[in-house]
């Protein structure tokens, strides 16, 4: 593992110079490297372990667990798709060589995070991943430059808390090794220490996966990063955060650690705290996504909400909830990647991300539309796409535990997701095609093939989810989370929950049959006359177009409804408190503090320096004498 990771890291630098000659070759090498890594994941044996090197006298350990396999598989799926997508897409970019280099570097680093066997290795790879992705972000729109800074700072806030906690652990147990630390933590008598460490470690995951208090970077970073990279950001990078959250809540035996702190339904209060944060993110993400006009920011907020789902699922400390949360990682990764790639395709052709400037692209970009459609079906959790299964599992856990408020929030997020995914669907792809986009074409095959492949995978996993449930069940078994129900019952084609089961194959077949019946009825009755959406269309001499209340409208833009879609609902919370403003205030506070320091100590005249010198003298003497 070590050699592979390091050679991929080295290759990334080489890719930069190759890309300087021809970025296309660089992109192809990237894709090949991605494909190699994908295959490589399957050749590795679960449980194998390797030493990467030594740092500060501690061995840097790489271990390959079921969780590593699952998370890196999901990551590689997304990254590979984006790498293939980028082969063509990069020609719209200003910095293709740097993009190639950092993308590959980030890939290696994120795999390193998943492989890490100890806290320090995880930190090192984590920082490399953050650094390389942070350098890709500002290649996007103008606002992206600010986004990169906010991303770096938020991420670092979490990471440094994590680092602090790692060293706290090290100074107490003399060990960074995750497995050892888990054992030590379980037996540690000091509750304040455990809670502190737990929360500080989780902070990294919270910052990275966009959970509530540190979620604001997602909007700006995902919304402004280079379009295809947003797919990686949302589909893969935030999953690093989910991985850390999974480590601290499930891999560390929190139930045992926090015995006696149970708050409700046998969930310890620190876990419950995280769960509450997750639930808050669902609300915040959903509400904010509903009111966005920028389609990428909309999906960025949806990533906040879905990160919340993942956290809620994991933090329930219930077998089915945990599996649901982990499966949601897969589902959301795929859905978000497809959506962002679809958006990248749209932007590739139209050069805008504002929903209000688009419309009717379905007639120009049908494949992109179909990809987006299936992705939102998955994102909204509607069968037969895979997104439903994970949401179903999370609901099962919440219902079983009797957590009605959280269940309410989960339902709210789910229904709310219908609202916000519909917004780009209607505003970008459906409706009237503005005149300026009448020459827009579908993106080339190399760009839509990865999208469609991901759609196919998501679809197949929705109908036959048992292959993807297998590693998750193995993970659950590794972490020994109760109750041990067998969720995937492949022999009976059943997905079992604690409160019932369902058969995805039957549901899918029923849908097919229903569609067939509908089609039969459709063909049975008179053939329709094709009507253009707006332009008077002369067929048999009669102009027939859509109903316009008896008025002639010749400008499609006037007849496109894509702004303020939920005005009535938005009005109910337009005066919401903004967390972004709070963080801005904090930022301003530090800035003002800097100004104060600057003004007090660093600017005054020479006589003031003499004053300060005397003051120091006096203080020192006063203190020491």
């Amino acid at each position: 593992m070590a050699i592979t990771l390091i050679s991929i890291l080295a290759l990334s630098v080489a890719v930069y110079f190759i890309s300087k000659l021809s970025w296309k070759v660089g992109a192809v090498i990237n894709a090949l490297a991605g494909a190699y890594l994908m295959i490589y994941l399957f050749t590795l044996k679960v449980g194998s372990s390797e030493v990467l090197g030594t740092l500060f006298g501690e061995k840097l350990l790489l271990t390959y667990t079921n969780a590593s396999f699952y998370f890196s598989f999901v990551s590689m799926l997304v990254i590979l798709a984006v790498m293939v997508f980028a082969i063509k897409w990069l020609d719209s970019q200003k910095y293709p060589s740097a993009f190639n280099m950092f993308l590959l570097m980030m890939t290696a680093a994120s795999l390193g995070v998943f492989f890490a066997g100890d806290l320090l290795t995880l930190y090192i790879f984590w920082e490399i991943a953050v650094l390389s992705s942070m350098l890709i972000v500002p290649m996007g729109k103008k606002e992206a430059r600010r986004a990169a800074i906010i991303y770096a700072v938020m991420s670092a806030t979490g990471t440094y808390m994590y680092l602090y906690a790692s060293f706290m652990i090290y100074s107490r147990y003399g060990n960074f090794n995750l497995a050892e630390v888990a054992k030590d933590l379980a037996n540690d008598p000091s509750m304040p220490f455990k809670v502190t460490v737990y929360l500080l470690l989780a902070a990294a995951g919270i910052a990275k996966s966009g959970i509530f208090p540190l979620h604001t970077w997602l909007r700006i970073a995902h919304g402004n990063a280079p379009d295809a990279f947003s797919a990686v950001l949302s589909g893969q990078l935030v999953k690093l955060g989910s991985y850390v959250l999974m480590l601290v809540t499930a891999f560390f035996p929190t139930l045992k650690m926090f015995q006696g702190l149970e708050l409700y339904s046998k969930i310890p209060s620190p876990n419950y705290f995280l769960l509450a944060l997750g639930a808050t993110s669902i609300i915040v993400g959903t509400l904010m996504a509903i009111k966005q006009d920028d389609m990428k920011m909309l999906i960025a907020f949806s990533s906040v909400a879905n990160g919340g789902y993942i956290l809620v699922g994991i933090a329930t400390m219930d077998a089915i909830g945990f599996e649901g949360g982990i499966l949601h990682v897969f589902n959301h990764a795929l859905a978000a990647a497809i959506i962002f790639m679809a958006f990248a395709s749209v932007v590739y052709r139209t050069h805008t991300t504002k929903i209000s400037e688009m419309g009717g692209l379905i007639h120009k970009m049908p494949i992109t539309f179909i990809s987006y459609l299936f992705a939102i079906i998955s994102l909204a959790g509607i069968p037969p796409m895979s997104g439903f299964i994970s949401k179903w599992m999370i609901y099962q856990a919440l219902v079983r535990k009797g957590m009605f408020v959280t269940a309410f929030i989960a339902f709210f997020g789910s229904i709310g997701s219908f609202l916000y995914v519909f917004r780009p669907l209607a505003g970008v792809f459906l409706g009237q095609l503005p005149k300026k986009y009448k020459d827009v074409k579908e993106v080339p095959a190399i760009m839509w093939i990865p999208m469609v492949t991901l759609v196919a995978i998501s679809f197949i996993m929705g109908v036959w989810p048992f292959p993807i449930l297998k590693p998750i069940e193995a993970m659950r078994a590794d972490f020994a989370i109760s109750p041990s129900v067998k969720i995937a019952d492949a022999s009976n084609w059943l997905v079992r929950g604690v409160t019932g089961s369902w058969n995805p194959v039957i549901v899918f077949n029923l849908f097919i049959i229903g569609f067939a019946i509908a089609y039969l009825l459709y063909t049975l009755f008179p053939k329709p006359k094709k009507v253009d959406l707006l332009a008077p269309h002369k067929e048999e001499g009669a102009p027939i177009n859509i109903y316009t209340g008896g008025e002639y409208i010749y400008t499609p833009d006037l007849y496109q409804y894509n702004t303020k879609m939920y005005a009535g609902f938005e009005r109910m919370y337009e005066k919401h408190p903004s967390w972004e403003k709070v963080l801005d205030m904090l930022c301003k506070f530090f800035h003002d503090l800097g100004q104060l320091v600057h003004g007090w100590f660093f600017r005054p005249s020479p006589s003031a320096y003499a004053f300060w010198t005397v003051m120091t003298l006096l203080i020192v003497f006063w203190v020491r004498w």
Partner: protein, 462 residues
């Protein structure tokens, strides 16, 4: 041999004063000679040299132990690197030569009054250097400060003399002061050195001087700071052990936070970096003030990393700031300089793959081992702030829309900057390049008896 390190630049300075046009060439020759000389001194460690045959504690003596050896090696290396840039040195070759001589003397000397003299020379030379590009007001402020600091330093020296009857450092180290006089002496020394070491609140001059021209930060933030830090360790730990180290610890932490906060506020690239170097100095001083191994070695390790990174940053920044008026997106035309700048700033922040990671994480780790939970927390907070403004600058210089047409860059800057930057990456993988000298320095600094032994045993031989 040791005297040559002071003598060569001094002679060169005289020559340069006579023939102005030979200035740069003389500087280059002196720098090369000095560097070779300091390399060749490795065989002479440890030894002392009594000037004029007056034996310590009566005469002035130069001490070459591990600490001073590595210090002058490092310092002369920096002078050598600066020698690559005739355009930066310009008309200031003479002053630079004087500075070189003074810094070498400051580091090598084993006599308190002599160190005062060298410090005054350093201040004088530094003030002249600071006044480059008509930066007179800042230079004047610096002058005032250096004057106050020098007089306090002198008072401290007088204190020591009245107590011990000698100006020799080894003698002072041997002498057991009463607690009260120790505090008085160390406080005065602290303030005297604090100016050069950029200790809060004596660092008001830094922003104006570093931010005012391209020569001052390059040499003052590296060589002079290094010598001041060396002397800080020597005086505070070796000679007057104990003393006001706790006060230094608190002041250093404040320095760190204050510097970083002010840097966050700053909108000028050079001034930002100036504040950043205040913050870094605070970190080094805080670690140094622990007064024992392994903190001392980590402090010097961090100092070396920081100085290397800062050298790159100031070289690049000084070059660009005076070439362009608007720096937005300027790295698009100066890719090599930009890469070096980015690597150096990432190293400063402490990202993995870069040198700063090694030293910062070690500091945190050792602090935890020592049961100090405050230093890591503040260090991480300061790092967070540092990361904010350095990323901001990186993003601005790389990605903003370019306003000014980029010109062809200077290959000297590019070569030196990228070489140093690559060196920073190399240090991540092989930290011992810096860590081994640093720990040797630290050993020498923390061992009082070792120092006294060197001086006393050196009495016989020359």
């Amino acid at each position: 041999m040791m005297t040559l390190a002071i003598a060569i630049p001094l002679i060169a300075a005289f020559l340069a004063a006579i023939r102005k046009s030979w200035g740069y060439i003389l500087y280059a020759i002196a720098a090369i000679l000095n560097f070779i000389l300091s390399l060749s001194l490795i065989g002479a460690v440890p030894s002392i040299h009594a000037l004029g045959g007056w034996k310590p504690p009566f005469g002035i003596n130069l001490v070459l132990d591990n600490a001073s050896f590595y210090a002058i090696l490092f310092i002369n290396a920096i002078f050598l690197i600066v020698a690559v840039f005739p355009d930066i040195i310009g008309k200031y070759a003479t002053v630079m030569l004087v500075l070189m001589a003074a810094v070498n003397g400051f580091v090598l000397t084993g006599d308190l009054f002599n160190s005062f003299v060298f410090m005054e020379i350093i201040s004088a030379a530094a003030v002249i250097i600071a006044s480059k590009r008509e930066n007179y007001y800042s230079a004047f402020k610096y002058l005032i400060f250096a004057g106050i600091a020098g007089s306090l330093y002198l008072i401290a020296v007088i204190f020591v003399y009245t107590q011990t009857g000698s100006l020799n450092m080894a003698q002072a180290a041997y002498f057991s002061f009463s607690q009260k006089s120790l505090v008085a002496i160390t406080t005065l020394f602290l303030i005297g050195l604090g100016v050069e070491a950029k200790l809060f609140p004596l660092n008001g001059w830094v922003m104006g001087v570093y931010g005012g021209n391209d020569l001052a930060p390059v040499i003052l933030s590296t060589a002079v700071t290094f010598s001041a830090m060396y002397m800080m360790g020597r005086l505070m730990i070796t000679i007057f052990g104990g003393g006001v180290l706790q006060v230094l610890y608190v002041l250093a932490l404040i320095t760190m936070l204050a510097g970083e906060l002010a840097a966050l506020y700053q909108k000028n690239l050079l001034k930002t970096l100036a504040y950043s170097s205040i913050g870094q100095a605070g970190l080094v001083l805080a670690v140094l003030s622990k007064g024992k191994e392994p903190f001392t070695s980590l402090a010097y390790f961090q100092l070396m990393n920081e100085v290397t990174a800062k050298l790159v940053l100031f070289l690049v920044a000084g070059y660009l700031v005076y070439k362009y008026t608007n720096l937005n997106g300027i790295f698009k035309s100066h890719k090599v300089l930009g890469t070096a700048f980015s690597i150096a700033s990432f190293s400063l922040v402490g990202f993995p793959l870069f040198a700063g990671f090694q030293s910062k994480l070690r500091i945190i780790m050792e602090a935890f081992k020592g049961g100090d939970y405050l230093l890591p927390a503040l260090l991480l907070l300061a790092t967070l702030i540092e990361l904010t403004y350095l990323i901001r600058w990186n993003v601005r210089l790389w990605f903003e829309d370019q306003v000014e047409e980029g010109e062809k860059g200077s290959w000297r800057h590019g070569f030196v900057a990228i070489a140093l930057a690559i060196f920073l990456v190399v240090i991540f993988f092989f930290p011992n390049i810096y860590l081994a000298p640093a720990s040797k320095m630290a050993d020498a600094i923390t061992s009082v008896s070792g120092y006294i032994n060197i001086v006393t045993s050196g009495l016989g031989g020359m």
